[in-house]
Symmetry: C2
Amino acid sequence: MKKNFDEQRTMNHEQMLAVTVDVVLFTIRERKLAVLLVRRINEPFDGMWALPGGFVEKNESVDEAALRELQEETNVSRVYLEQLYTFGDPDRDPRGRVITVSYYALINWENFQLRARTDTSEAKWFPVQELPKLAFDHRDIIRYALERLQHKINYTTICFQLLPKKFALSELQQAYEIILNQKLDKRNFRKKMIQLHILKDTGEMKTDGGPQRPAKLYSFTDVRVVKLQEKGIIVPF
Amino acid sequence: MKKNFDEQRTMNHEQMLAVTVDVVLFTIRERKLAVLLVRRINEPFDGMWALPGGFVEKNESVDEAALRELQEETNVSRVYLEQLYTFGDPDRDPRGRVITVSYYALINWENFQLRARTDTSEAKWFPVQELPKLAFDHRDIIRYALERLQHKINYTTICFQLLPKKFALSELQQAYEIILNQKLDKRNFRKKMIQLHILKDTGEMKTDGGPQRPAKLYSFTDVRVVKLQEKGIIVPF
DNA sequence: TTGACAAAGTGTATTTGATACACTAAACTT
DNA sequence: AAGTTTAGTGTATCAAATACACTTTGTCAA
């Protein structure tokens, strides 16, 4: 394809930049919210922990790049993945000009356990309250992702992405409590969840071997993440 | 600076991409929400209307690029500007691989009128309901910006960016009605606004020459855009 | 000067949703 | 059979959102 004047003017090599994607992959492990980090094996920040991610290729969308990197690093596909923010400070990468498009993703306990068994690489889960020193501006990215997650569980059903397909109401409540980092009232929580009509009683019970009354197992009616409160977040008038 | 192995491997020329910024600049004109568009004078989409924007330079942050482009195209600075979303479809630009980081900005009536007088270029305001055919995926970007704006006026004070420093409550209500595209109840609107403690009575009155009772002029207490509802959008439990 | 006009400005009752709070039920273990 | 552990349930109170109509105040024109 012959380049015309405009292309020459606007797309010369000087204005080309490197673009990466970075993914904050959340899960719940041992009653803590955790993110997956990988250990860097190159300069800069060699040996330091960083978010999984990598360069966007020429022939893929940015979303596809995020999914690809996630699959390469964690072997997980079919996750809930959402674009977060684009960080474009000129000196955020010591190698030169690198802009990163950040994403966050949620996987559930079951998937995680499959992953943990095959994990022989330099990837490791860290509770968000106990992060090591991180490469680049990745700590900022995680902080931003956590804020987004904390807001978003209040008006969408993303939280379900962290749970197995069938779950007890107490497990759902626990997930909310872990993410929001606060205790919730059991009766109010259940009342609210049931009146939202997003739960389906599977008819099954959870018998986890403990000496307690078995819990009803629920699944959610919508496979997709949906917004609650149709008329907008708050219509204040 | 000598490049080491990692830099060679990860930042080779093949993986460099062009990155642009595009800005959806909103204002209210003639009781309609309008966006500023510029006419393209180059291929591709020569002669077609597009969002103001341009390439991100090597030595500036993406935010700075958005501000710079906005200033170049509209002569407006000190605007409220917020990153929206990064569009990275590989074939969104026929010239090749161009990723765009979109922003939206709001300017007020007074600034706009200054701008309109000096406007001899190919820039023009279009009501969001009456957009022409647009270059690239810019219609998608505007739709996305509009959604964000409609949500965000419900829990922040961004709406004030569209108004002059001193304004009547009815003007504020009108701005909300235009953006949300629905009528609001006058008494409930005023009650809500006053109880939020974001308004300051200037003591002045608005006499616009009409044969009606003059309105009190208010200003807002916080110069910055602030979030309302401290405890999170909705804490549903 | 006064009457018509036009938008500004004001209050209350009802409904809805959020919150606070404590006991019984069911299964398992010893 | 008694003890342990988590599941599961209802109501009263408080706060916020909604629905709704008339009076006030200035300008303009007869």
